[in-house]
Amino acid sequence: MKSRYSIFSLLRNALSYHEGWPEAWRSPEPKPSYDVVIVGGGGHGLATAYYLAKEHGITNVAVIERGWLGGGNTGRNTTIVRSNYLWDESAHLYEHSLKLWEGLTRELNYNVMFSQRGVMNLAHSQHDLRELGRRIAANRLNGVDSEFLTPRQVKQFCPIIDLREGGRYPVLGASLQRRGGTARHDAIAWGYARAADALGVDIIQECPVEGFRIEKGRVRAVETAKGTIEAGKVALAVAGHSSVLAELAGFRLPIVCHPLQALVSEPVKPVIDCVVMSNAVHAYISQSDKGDLVIGAGVDRYIGYSQRGGLPVTEETLAAICELFPLFRRMRMMRCWGGTVDTCPDASPIVSKTPVEGMYINGGWGTGGFKSTPGSGWVYAHTIAHDEPHPLNAAFKLDRFTTGYLIDEHGAAAVAH
């Protein structure tokens, strides 16, 4: 049993110069066989492992990761959490996730630094305004907190925004989800890893998948760099590589990958205490606890796995940020980076069974995977354990592209793709 993190363990370890902290999770060699092998050690994969063990009692589970935990999109996003999606299916799924976020630090005994500072979405045109009004109404019908702010209220909520007449991007209103906010991106991977490990899950890093052994339409084993691992069930949680692994397993996905960039500024004193997003001009911004401005840019339009994007994209975003927040004009940007996002034609994820028996797919989260991490893992664990989707993810099946039951969330997804 792991020792719990608490003020007392902190004090105790302070006395020994913090040299006596135990490892947060084991790093075992893979066993020859597991009931479930989860491919992908990002937030989604680790959350899935945790909920498989905790909610469904399946503990003979391995999470295999090609690199290090949370080194993919989990460590590359802009950490925004919200649930104000338009359609019922999405609203319920993301709202479930948000509710899990609210209790996560306590549940995992790991500070995920979830800060419900409010997420504001700006409207710059009459069209934006109508769309926003529709989405606020839809949110409220689904029990998701959402309210409308007039320009005056926008200024009160976020005083540094420039609302003088004649701006290039006039703000006509905004929606506000007060329960939305930000969280620590690494902490969600590490917290789930530690909690899953404590329940008996093996976490195996630096173990890329090289292929699958599929017999008579059923997956039997995963071929990895550390040898063949037999598996009762295989669950893919490899957003950014879903198509590549699906191809190894012999099926196709309606997913395309784009580079998506983010950047951070030099750290400054607290200046913006909420999240501001503008879908129309492609800018979203918040401030981390360390003090740097965290800024999300748009996607590059071409397919790409390079984990880096073009400068014109960041330039466009920064131009919009400077227009809305003139006081940031002289800020210097410290780092920019890119991730590879899975995007579906309807901007909604796939959490589903696949044409291969015993194999499951969780991907296509597009530009919004971080917020959904707990909910995604929770419903995916249910899908794997019961070989049936949970009602919350029943609509997010792979075959919705055949039946035509698409869930078009292009309006609520923050980044156009």
């Binding site: 198509s243 590549v244 996905l253 997913i255 990958c257 339009r301 071409y302 397919i303 014109p312 055949t402």
Partner: protein, 97 residues
């Protein structure tokens, strides 16, 4: 930023171009005979190769002509460009996992 060799104008910056997605997708010859699965395959199951990918670009802010390109989606090297309707050049297969 990509430097894309337009077959008509020579190498130009990426911002002059617009992307047209996967190349060589053929419209179904008999759409009315297609089942749901075949439609889904045609409409949604696009290529998403990590490696050499054949795709279409249009030189929007230049000659405004469409062309095909073979690009490595991991390294972003544009390995070949060729005209619309043309056969893809023989290239060494690159695959990454």
């Amino acid at each position: 930023m990509l430097l894309i060799p337009c077959p008509y104008c020579g190498p130009r910056e990426e911002t002059e171009f617009s992307y047209g997605g996967e190349a060589h997708i053929e419209r179904p010859k008999q759409p009315e005979a297609l089942g749901d699965e075949a439609w889904a395959d045609y409409l949604f199951m696009t290529g998403n190769t990590k490696g050499v990918f054949l795709e279409r670009w249009v030189h929007s802010h230049g000659c405004r002509r469409w062309f095909n390109a073979a690009r490595d989606t991991l390294t972003n090297e544009v390995l070949a460009v060729y005209e619309m309707g043309g056969k893809p050049p023989k290239l060494e297969k690159r695959s990454y996992v």
